[in-house]
């Protein structure tokens, strides 16, 4: 299945987009999404393989299941304030 991952900040500016679509097995976990992101952007593998993902607006354990309808967001490199 295809999961869309929202991205923000410097990363979104650098990639010139605000979301990344990745293909993952079905069923899939948060960890599968991290791995699919890392595989899609080998130059950013270290960032993506360990990046914190929020699922439906909450930080989620890496072995949590992911549905296609979930809202997934990459919460990394934040710098509020």
């Amino acid at each position: 299945m295809t999961v869309r991952v929202l991205i923000f900040g410097e990363l979104a500016r650098e990639l010139s987009c605000s979301e990344i679509a990745v293909d993952v097995p079905n069923p899939a976990t948060v960890r599968d999404v991290n791995r699919a992101l890392a595989a899609k952007f080998p130059a950013k593998e270290a960032l993506f393989v360990s990046a914190r993902l929020a699922v439906n607006h909450a930080f989620t354990a890496v072995d949590s299941p992911i549905q296609q309808s979930d809202e997934v967001a990459l919460i990394e490199l934040v710098g509020g304030g």
Partner: protein, 134 residues
């Protein structure tokens, strides 16, 4: 619980601080210290001169995480109230993008809470800043 969180479009204004600054202390006689921390956009980011910062907030998660953080800090430090304001969108150099107001019985817990709140905000709250260079 006395926690309030506001995500505001553009720079923060004086208004809320001036209007409400001492109201709580006048009502609840246990307030002994109030701390207002404000973050201001600086002209230099590394070596380059800025015009502004552009803040992106991922809502409603940003407000939810700020609220959960404020509640946790309030309980942990035994505070009386926390009010948080954070800008989104463009904030020019010299303008304010963040304000944290803490009411507490004593100084020590208020200062410790202020420090811890900002540390944890920078780790966990989905608000990003992008430099707008001159």
């Amino acid at each position: 619980m006395n926690v309030a969180v506001h995500i505001v479009d553009g720079p923060l204004q004086d208004a809320i601080k001036c209007r409400g600054a001492n109201e709580l202390a006048q009502r609840t006689t246990n307030v002994g210290a109030t701390i207002v921390f404000e973050g201001v956009v600086r002209a230099l980011e590394g070596e380059r001169r800025l015009d502004a910062l552009e803040y992106q907030a991922y809502e409603p998660m940003a407000s939810q995480i700020l609220t959960a953080l404020a509640r946790d800090i309030l309980a942990k430090h035994g505070l009386i109230s926390i009010t948080v304001e954070h800008s989104r969108g463009r904030v020019a150099v010299g303008e304010r993008s963040f304000r944290l107001a803490v009411h507490s019985a004593h100084r020590k817990e208020g200062l410790a809470a202020t420090d811890e709140f900002i540390d944890r905000m920078k780790c966990d709250v989905p608000i990003w800043k992008l430099p707008v260079y001159s």
